[in-house]
């Protein structure tokens, strides 16, 4: 499945949340990757990357799921994921899961090296920039923790968004502060989690932006869910949806009914 460097073979790992709740983000990723010149595949047997198990202390299940992912995604030039958190799981944590198993360690490192978060891949590997996409308005960007601190994803989405017509980015003071999602944390400690989200939302509202963007659906669902509970009017999108020009006629994550 090796392809020329200009037309690499790319496997899309959509992630559970995108698959189950917001397939539009997956199709946005498909469009972006195809526009960028990738030969795209979507391995059919993909499920969960094992992060929930891993972070809950269930190393056995995490390892079994990691093994499954390693098998599912072998042979492609790249594996691309529209989530910093799932990408970091593969890039940073899979090798730790297999540190005592040299053969598996080698395979996990090989996968880790081929795995990319979507915006980083588009900008840094494909040198892609969106053409003729417009999204009038002002948006603020939430830097999700894993992407930011484990994969250094900060400028990549902003650079790509810079090519979107009519869109201005206003930075929030707490752009890099955790939104309180934290995987299972948000349902185990809903009071703390929503208080953390409120702190973020106050800060986001303060920017005056009409839109919130981010690269991780978990965080976005948390913030959007809390915003709509509070009655905030901001629209929330995954960055891929905006970059692919797929917001028209689609309901934002925040569920504003007028938008559909």
């Amino acid at each position: 499945m090796k392809n020329s460097p200009e037309k690499p073979s790319v496997a899309l790992y959509v992630t559970c949340l995108v698959d189950l709740t917001r397939p539009g983000v997956g199709f946005a990723a498909v469009k972006l990757l195809e526009d960028a010149g990738c030969v795209l595949s979507v391995p059919e047997t993909q499920t969960c990357c094992g992060q929930p198990a891993y972070n809950a202390g269930d190393q056995g299940d995490a390892r079994a799921l990691a093994l499954q992912v390693i098998e599912n995604f072998s042979g492609y030039d790249y594996v691309v994921i529209p989530s910093g958190s799932c990408a970091a799981m593969i890039k940073d944590h899979y090798p730790k899961l297999f540190k005592d198993d040299p053969a598996m360690l080698k395979r996990s490192v090989d996968l880790a090296q081929r795995t990319w978060e979507l915006t980083a891949f588009l900008r840094d590997v494909m040198q892609y920039s969106p053409q003729n996409v417009s999204c009038p308005g002002s948006a603020t960007y939430h830097d999700s923790c894993s992407g930011l601190r484990e994969l250094n994803i900060k400028d990549q989405p902003r650079d790509l968004l810079g090519a979107v017509d009519g869109l201005t980015i206003v930075e929030a003071d707490l752009a890099e502060t955790c939104c309180g999602f934290g995987g299972l944390f948000c349902v185990k400690y809903p009071d703390i989690s929503s208080a953390m989200a409120d702190r973020k939302i106050d800060d986001i509202v303060n920017t005056g932006a009409d839109t919130l963007l981010g690269g991780d659906l978990g965080c976005l669902m948390n913030l959007a869910g809390r915003m709509s509970r509070r009655g905030e009017k901001l629209k929330v999108w995954h960055v891929a949806e905006v970059l692919a020009g797929m917001t028209e006629g689609t309901r934002p994550i925040s569920g504003d009914k007028d938008a559909k």
Partner: protein, 475 residues
């Protein structure tokens, strides 16, 4: 200090509902990180210093026995005494005995988290000795009979109005017309009271920021100079420190001091940095006649070589706490014991040694901010995860959570069954979805919908749609 870690959830809820506390925390959690960032930016070699600090602390832990013995020898050589205490009660009785031997009535204390850990104040009071806290923050919370809420700013949970109220209530000789409206005046008010105590104290009890093996000195860092008074004036000075605080030499101590205050408060150095070596010598103008060092283990040696080994590198700067988004919402008391925030969530379960603190390592989003600001680069999120591993292995996770987690993993390992179940599930949710596309209340997802709306699925799963698209040949 009595542990309330088992009531974490209730404590957190209480803190979230306390409007006054939320105001103080808001201010705190924006102030400290900015100061730390500025201090780091002012020093080009700051990141290299963090590496050096990490290496010094790691080296100490690998050779802890050697440096502790060297420290002991030096303390004895300079005329002091060293006492080894395995647990908190051992340390309490050693300190109690020293107090008794000089018939002490009053002990002035400078801030010591180890003192909180072993509840030395309660012990002394029970034995007829009056412990007086001399750090302003500690003094305030002692008057209020509260535990500290932060390891370097123990009264950070209070507003200055609350402090003024406390003084009016407890300082009975305070004239009613005395204005107490700014921090400087409050400090003076406390100082006036403390000055009498300093002069009348028989014993001074302090912690130690470091124990220097090369010289047998202890390093004390404060912003108020209270440590110097509480150790310099009384006849007897007792140092209470945990064993991992030792460092090889003065040069290493200075490397650590260069990152300590910058990480903690954003100062280049704290206002007072003192090194105390042994009792008063014949040509010294002042100083204590007796110098005792109590070295406490209290569970630390069992962390050596374990998955929590690296936690002992901690120099108690508080930076991880200052930057923690969970702490920023719930404050220190919610954690229920001496050490709050990320460092506390790793340390408390180890030092308490039972399941009572099980919530703490779970009550984190693993956002990773703490690790980026720890001067000795402790991988705090990884340590929290290690506690979760232990809890899972020991079957201590609540049954419903465990079952849910395992069921999910079971499904995820069977891609075909997984697809089937997910198609049915999303199909159902899509049918049930309210017109505006958000669920307000889903009985099986209460953890989510108690506080947030749940966006309904957009339609069929991505994988189902992708299959249709591929089969239909349209692209």
């Amino acid at each position: 200090m009595q542990s309330k870690t088992a009531h974490f959830k209730e404590n957190a809820k209480k803190a979230l509902g306390d409007a006054q506390l939320q105001r103080v925390l808001d201010k705190f959690s924006t102030g400290f990180p900015v100061k730390r960032a500025q201090a780091a930016a002012r020093l080009p070699e700051f990141e290299d210093l963090r590496d050096a600090a990490r290496d010094i602390r790691a080296h100490v832990l690998d050779n802890l026995d050697v440096y502790l013995e060297r420290f002991e020898t030096k303390v004895i050589e300079t005329g002091g005494m060293v006492h080894w205490a395995r647990g908190g009660s051992d340390a309490c009785s050693i300190i109690g005995d020293i107090c008794k031997s000089v018939d002490a009535k009053t002990v002035t204390k400078s801030k010591s988290m180890i003192g909180e850990e072993i509840a030395i104040n309660d012990y002394l009071e029970k034995n007829g000795v009056d412990p007086v806290e001399t750090d302003l923050g500690e003094y305030i919370i002692q008057l209020r009979d509260e535990p500290p809420s932060h390891i370097i700013v123990p009264a950070v949970h209070l507003s200055k109005e609350q402090v003024a109220e406390t003084f009016r209530e407890k300082h009975t000789d305070l004239p009613a017309d005395r204005v107490l409206d700014n921090p400087r005046i409050l400090l003076d008010e406390a100082r006036g009271k403390l000055r009498e105590k300093f002069l009348s104290a028989d014993v001074g009890l302090s912690g130690a920021n470091m124990l220097v093996a090369e010289t047998g000195s202890i390093a004390l860092v404060t912003n108020e100079g209270n440590a110097d008074l509480s150790v310099g004036l009384p006849r007897v000075h007792i140092v209470l420190a945990s064993i991992e605080k030792v460092v090889p030499c003065m040069e290493d101590a200075w490397t650590l001091l260069r990152v300590l205050a910058r990480s903690a408060t954003g100062q280049d150095l704290s206002v007072y940095t003192s090194f105390v070596t042994g009792p008063k010598r014949s040509d010294d103008l002042d100083g204590p006649e007796e110098f005792h060092v109590v070295l406490l283990d209290n569970g630390r040696s069992s962390m050596l070589g374990s998955e929590f080994h690296d936690m002992l590198r901690c120099i108690k700067c508080g930076s991880c706490i200052n930057h923690c988004p969970v702490y920023a919402k719930i404050g220190g008391h919610a954690y229920g014991w001496v050490y709050p925030g990320p460092m506390g969530s790793v340390l408390s379960p180890a030092l308490l040694g039972d399941v009572s603190a099980n919530d703490l390592p779970n009550a984190s989003t693993l956002c990773g901010k703490c690790e980026t600001v720890c001067p000795v680069r402790i991988p705090l999120p990884e340590m929290l995860r290690q506690w979760r591993n232990r809890q899972f292995e020991a079957n201590q996770m609540p049954t419903r959570q465990r079952l849910g987690l395992r069921a999910w993993a079971w499904l995820a390992r069977r891609p075909r069954t997984y697809r089937l179940v997910m198609e049915i599930g999303t199909g159902l949710l899509t049918k049930l979805a309210p017109r505006n596309g958000r669920f307000k209340n889903l009985p099986f997802a209460k953890g989510w919908t108690s506080k947030r709306d749940l966006p309904a699925p957009q339609g069929k799963t991505f994988m189902a749609q992708w299959k249709q698209r591929s089969n239909g040949g349209s692209s």
